[in-house]
């Protein structure tokens, strides 16, 4: 099910960038801020924001949104408050997708314990990028293009639907490189509780319904493959 609504908590440099980037992914984005200063700052930059507090009353969200269609970004500047917000949301909404920001490794662990589905360790992300830029500049360049460029190469997740012609085949039966000019990066095995493995690990995986293939290649070719895989 595609998530169509996003909530962003906090207004700072990080949330500004998240707001700027995820616009195309969601039908509606709602910004929540914790004080009037943040609210006026957001307003000045053309965003309307709503106030929230860290109490347990989340009825506003419950009433307005279908939780199953909701992605929440916990991006408060203070890690302790962010953990508290995450735990508070998780305790109320089990099916909400929560993506949280953490400043360091210690906070990352706490965010995960608090129930965040995905954690973005801010410093680690920047450090990895710097490290990669220095040690593997070409790899970094390619990955950056794959992930973030709108044109050309890209990465795509293809979920195997019920009538897909790939169902029942083994990974080694398909030559993704020659037949589709794509490279299979990884596979999420639905039967094995969504366990994740890389294609180069060499397992001759049996493709089943609801498995997810992660492929790299030209965006147009990826779109064609997606159509093909859908059956």
């Amino acid at each position: 099910m595609r998530r169509t609504h996003a909530l962003i908590f906090g207004y700072n440099e990080y949330s500004k960038q998240i707001l700027a980037q995820i616009g195309g992914n969601y039908r509606e984005i709602t910004l929540f801020v914790s004080n009037s200063e943040e609210m006026s700052a957001a307003f000045k930059e053309g965003w309307s924001a709503e106030l929230f507090d860290l109490g347990d009353d989340w009825s506003v969200i419950e009433e307005r949104f279908d939780i199953r269609l909701l992605t929440t970004f916990c991006a408060l500047a203070n890690d302790a408050e962010n953990v508290f917000l995450t735990i508070s949301l998780r305790s109320t909404f089990e099916s909400m997708l929560i993506i949280a920001l953490a400043q360091n490794h210690e906070s990352t662990l706490k965010m995960k314990s608090a129930g965040a589905d995905k954690v973005m360790p801010v410093l680690q992300i920047a450090a990895n990028m710097i490290g990669d830029m220095i040690t593997k500049p070409n790899v970094t360049h390619v990955i950056h293009d794959l992930l973030y460029e709108d044109e050309g190469l890209g990465v795509m997740e293809v979920k195997i639907e019920q009538y897909s012609p790939l169902i029942g085949k083994y990974l080694h039966d398909i030559d993704f490189g020659s037949d589709f000019d794509l490279i299979l990066l990884a596979i999420l095995d639905h039967e094995r509780e969504n366990s994740f493995s890389f294609a180069v690990q060499g397992y001759n995986h049996h493709i089943n319904k609801d498995d997810v293939l992660v492929l790299m290649g030209d965006k147009k070719k990826l779109a064609l493959f997606k159509q093909f895989a859908r059956g």
């Binding site: 995820i22 920047a126 593997k136 070409n138 790899v139 794959l146 890389f198 180069v200």
Partner: protein
């Protein structure tokens, strides 16, 4: 006429490259601690010194062959003489001094005075001759005149020459010389005590027939042996008055020893930080390649952990004492220097071209990073500069400061948020690869022209098929990335294959490729 000839000769020497090269090489060999052959030179000289002392000792009770004696008296002395003359030659630039004088006189419309120029050169050279180390060097040559028997003892001055060749000995002298005033005070005090004690003991004991103190020299000898708490016992006072003097001297002797010890200890304690700092600077100077991180912060810590997986050492420059201490507590190679000052790099004798792999500007503000970048760019245009960007609006300023790669964590988080919310599995896969949490990694292999005939067949071998995946080829020359290359894709020198697979397998692939390529 003589003046004109000297000036012409000076100009010639200044512009004569072979002459300058020879002089520079000699200077480096004698004085430049960073010159790689200096260590060899120093070791040879140390060897000669010990050999010389060995011959001196051996000569006392054994007959040495003429060859050894000739070697000691002439060869070693001659080498030391040449060294002395070379040091005199490289101390100051005589031709430069003469030219400067000449040009000054020309500018002021004065006739060129050869004698004044000569005087300036002579002053410079005498400055060397009068220096303590040069005096020792000179004394070490004296055994050359071995016919004068007393000059043979000057061989021992060769041992003192060790100070020239060993840095730790030089450091010891510099530490002790910081307490020059205290040592002088102690010496004066000791001399006065010895003088008084000698006179007193002589007066008290010399007329007593039972006393071994018969001459003033006996008295001085006894005083020195007593005050330094040695007390051989060969000369002892026999009169009550003499014994009273002895008791006082013994007590003063303890005071002298304690005073001397405390001076040495305090000199070392005061200089301890300086010694450590010097050692760290030396350690950095000795590094062949390293990453230089300007500024220590939480981000620096993460970056260091990331880069520490490689084999290239990391050096941190941090001006703030608290942050510097934190870096040291983590066990990093940190130096308390301001990275935005040129003086820092000249003092550390950093060779940007040969030593620096990359410089990372990770200070807490864009202002500091720009300032540091400009300082570094002023000194070198070639070293790769990476910088963190704290505020997006400052990007242009960082670019203008000459920073090659700018990384803004906020922007990265935004981009990752986009992928994470739309393609979480793909994000997971890429993030796992990037953070190197598993053994599966993306790596680069630099290719050489013509290696395609080895590369593609190797990929199809049983060990690698389906277990290594070539994501693409990065053509170095036209900066073009060819995704999923076909088997007929040609390589040029410097092209890079981006390859996905297990780290061990990639390493094996690289080594086989290298072996077969060489063959």
């Amino acid at each position: 006429m003589l003046g004109k000839w000297i000036v012409d000769a000076s100009y010639f020497l200044q512009s004569c490259h072979p002459y300058r090269n020879v002089k520079n090489t000699v200077y480096n060999l004698l004085e430049n601690n960073r010159y790689r052959y200096k260590k060899i030179f120093d070791l040879v000289m140390i060897g000669l010194i010990f050999l010389s002392v060995y011959i001196l000792i051996r000569q006392v009770k054994h007959e040495l062959s003429d060859g050894w004696i000739f070697f000691n008296n002439y060869v070693i002395s001659f080498i030391f003489l040449v060294e002395y003359l070379l040091r005199l030659w490289v101390h100051g630039d005589a031709s430069k001094i003469i030219i400067e004088r000449y040009e000054n006189d020309l500018f002021l419309h004065r006739p060129f005075s050869f004698w004044k120029a000569f005087e300036a050169v002579a002053i410079k050279k005498i400055e060397f001759i009068r220096s303590p180390s040069a005096i020792i060097d000179f004394l070490a040559i004296l055994p050359f005149f071995h016919q004068l028997r007393m000059f043979r003892i000057f061989i021992l001055f060769r041992v003192v020459k060790l100070f020239r060749y060993t840095k730790s000995l030089r450091r010891l002298v510099s530490i002790l010389s910081s307490k020059k005033f205290e040592f002088i005070t102690l010496i004066v005090f000791t001399l006065i005590v010895i003088f008084i004690a000698s006179v007193l003991i002589y007066v008290m004991e010399a007329n007593n027939p039972k006393s071994p103190v018969n001459t003033l020299f006996d008295a001085v000898y006894w005083s020195v042996v007593t005050i330094f708490t040695v007390g051989y016992g060969d000369i002892v006072p026999v009169t009550s008055e003499g014994r009273i003097v002895a008791m006082v001297i013994i007590m003063l002797g303890i005071a002298v020893i304690s005073f001397a010890t405390s001076i040495v200890v305090s000199a070392f304690t005061e200089k301890l930080n300086e010694i450590k700092k010097d050692k760290w600077v030396d350690d950095v100077t000795r590094l062949k390649r390293f990453y230089l991180i300007c500024g220590f912060s939480s981000l620096s810590l993460e970056v260091i952990h990331r880069l520490a997986k490689g084999s290239i050492p990391i050096v941190i420059l941090e001006n703030d004492p608290i942050l510097y201490e934190q870096a040291k507590e983590h066990g990093f190679m940190a130096l308390e220097y301001n990275p935005s000052l040129m003086e820092t790099y000249t003092h550390l004798k950093i060779n940007f071209t040969h030593q620096i792999e990359a410089i990372l500007l990770l200070q807490e503000s864009d202002v500091e990073n720009v300032f540091t970048a400009l300082t570094i760019r002023e000194m070198t245009k070639h070293v790769p500069l990476y910088s963190i960007l704290h505020h997006l609006e400052h990007r242009r300023k960082l670019q203008m400061a000459g920073i090659d790669v700018i990384i803004n964590p906020h922007e990265l988080v935004g981009l990752m948020g986009k992928i994470l919310s739309s393609q979480p599995v793909a994000f997971e896969a890429i993030h796992t690869l990037r953070s190197e949490q598993t053994s599966i990694v993306i790596d680069e292999i630099v290719l050489t022209e013509g290696s395609e005939s080895i590369f593609y067949p190797l990929l199809k071998e049983k060990l690698f098929v389906r277990r290594l995946s070539v994501l693409g080829l990065y053509h170095h020359k036209n900066r073009e990335f060819r995704f999923n290359p076909k088997n007929d894709e040609m390589f040029r020198n410097g092209d890079v294959a981006i390859i996905l697979g297990d780290r061990i397998l990639i390493n094996e692939f690289k080594s086989i490729l290298l072996r077969r390529g060489i063959r």
